[in-house]
Amino acid sequence: MATAAIDRAYRLPVPGLVMGVLVLAGVSIISAITGAASLPAAGVIASMVDLVPGVSVESSLTERQESILFHIRLPRLVLGMLVGAALGMSGASFQGVFRNPLADPYLLGVSSGAGFGATLALGLGVDIGWGPFDAVASAAFVGGLVAVGAAALIARGAGASPATLLLAGIAMAALFAAGQTYVLQKLSETQAREVLNWLFGRLNTSGWDQVGLLGPYVIVCGAVLLAIRRHLDVLRVGDDEARALGLDPGRSRAIVIVAASLLTAAAVSVSGLIAFVGLVVPHVVRLTAGHSYRAILPLSALLGASFLALVDVGARTLAAPAELPVGVVTAFIGAPFFAFVLIQARKAAV
């Protein structure tokens, strides 16, 4: 019995991962066949399997249907998955480093900083775009990182404990939100509407560009977070005990915060603010797969990807032909769950 428990404590949660991949595959198919033009499931599956190197399958899709699949549906599906995985993983990471079950990826002001940056870019035409990075995405990315960086600098000056960093993040969030409101009320109605659309969160894509922007961040930052997820379990016993066990808690925490913030800023820059995914997903994982970050981190990535891809199907179809902002749909689902988490906070604690 002890052997099995020890194995469980250090192994990858294989059954959970397999389940997560299967759910993701199912959601992918649902997403790919659902939309204004409905595509036949068999043809979609055949076309997708045909993409696997070395496999050749004849698809029943017409050329036009294949074009919809590969240039409209799949880019959006993949983008949703990447954003969901990014938010799920960075949410779990923030909950870990702050030992706070209510932490989410936006905790340190990334969202407000990004919102301020995007507002400047959309409203005032500030263009710091470079190469493939468009003006809004670049401004949001930079704004998000500036807010977190400022919070980290303030916290460093004030003792660098997780609590001071959290408070500094709240201060930065308030500051950037105020800046954003100030700029917003100077804008024309059309400009303001554009900014609000961005803030609500959306997964509108133009081909594969956004996927290309976000993909490298998900791969690199995700790999960093997965590589040091064991440290998050050590940090759960607090800084003193972690230090006595031989871990430098400040260094591990700094790496996690940098990686998770880059990941969040990248996600926000292509999708706007999508609420609650980073909060809800890790908690659902905890309820089903235990409290070790070795399981929580990879499973939060998988579940976040499935969740956001599925919610986006709803956002595209519920009010068709109009489209709901995906951030609004996640908030509708996430807010009641957040209340549940608050009530259960002691039980479902980190």
């Binding site: 002890a2 099995a4 066990l245």
Partner: protein, 279 residues
């Protein structure tokens, strides 16, 4: 054997002071810990016992002085394990996961536990009769079970020295002795060096090979239990009236007979009501 270290290590504390903001918790303290001994740190609340342990464990910086182990190095987590006074028991973490944390100091930065690490954890759990608990969440254990689990994590760290900060203060007498016996067995078998802050002087005398009496951040007395547990010194340090007896070859420290205690205290504190001493 759980402790892979062959024999304990010496720890030398030289002129160490610890400050918390303006307050000096430890004032130029010298303590030499011999390999394989059980050194009990005794003294009233606020005497500096925990501060000394935390300084040795590297959790608080020494404002003055140096702390070194046998070969002159500053101690690291591979040298010294700490059983904290109030350990954090993360909700939902299993006993196996918790004890596995003890291997942290032996792992490369990005590595995960090897078969050897898991084997160490397995044997440690068995030695402390925790096999059946491996899957239980640590936050749902009883006080005695939790204390054994924290000890298991420290032993899985396989260090030649173990620091205990009032390890059994929350336990009943039976569980106290069971935990302390388990530690003493490790000490005798592999020569583990034990430094323990202890409140109960009788229990301390039972296990300690030597004692350091601290008061107000300074060393008041050092030596064998029989030398340190001297009634006049204790009465002065603890500001109460104690009685030191020898029963069945063991030193027993207990409050002085009630009426004499009251005599002593009422002479200093007139506000205490008179009592007939019954009861």
């Amino acid at each position: 054997m759980t402790g892979g270290a062959s024999g304990g290590i010496a720890i030398s504390v030289t002129g160490v002071s610890v400050d918390y903001r303006a307050r000096r918790a430890l004032d130029t303290v010298d303590v030499a810990v011999e390999p394989g001994e059980w050194l009990a740190l005794i003294g009233p609340n606020g005497a500096g016992k925990s501060s000394l342990l935390r300084a040795i464990a590297g959790l608080v910086p020494a404002a003055t002085g140096t702390i070194a182990i046998g070969d002159g190095r500053a101690p690291a987590a591979r040298d010294i394990a700490l059983v904290p006074q109030v350990p954090v028991m993360p909700p939902g973490m299993t006993v196996a996961e918790y004890v596995l944390l003890g291997r942290t100091a032996h792992l490369a930065w990005l590595a995960r536990e090897s078969a050897h690490d898991r084997d160490v954890v397995h044997r440690t759990l068995a030695e402390l009769a925790l096999d059946g608990f491996a899957d239980r969440p640590v936050d749902e254990l009883s006080g005695g079970e939790a204390q054994r689990v924290v000890l298991a994590r420290a032993l899985a760290q396989q260090t030649p020295a173990l620091l205990l900060d009032e390890p059994t203060s929350a336990l009943d007498l039976g569980h106290q002795l069971a935990v302390l016996d388990a530690i003493d067995e490790q000490r005798r078998r592999i020569g583990l060096t034990v430094v323990a802050a202890m409140h109960d002087l009788t229990v301390a005398a039972r296990y300690a090979t030597r004692m350091v009496l601290l008061a107000e951040g300074r060393v008041v007395a050092t030596g064998l239990p029989a030398e340190v547990l001297e009634v006049d010194v204790l009465n002065a340090v603890y500001a109460t009236a104690l009685s030191v007896r020898v029963l069945d070859d063991e030193i027993v420290v207990l409050p002085a007979a009630r009426h004499s205690a009251l005599n002593h205290i009422t002479s200093d504190h007139d506000e205490l009501p008179p009592t007939d001493g019954a009861g």
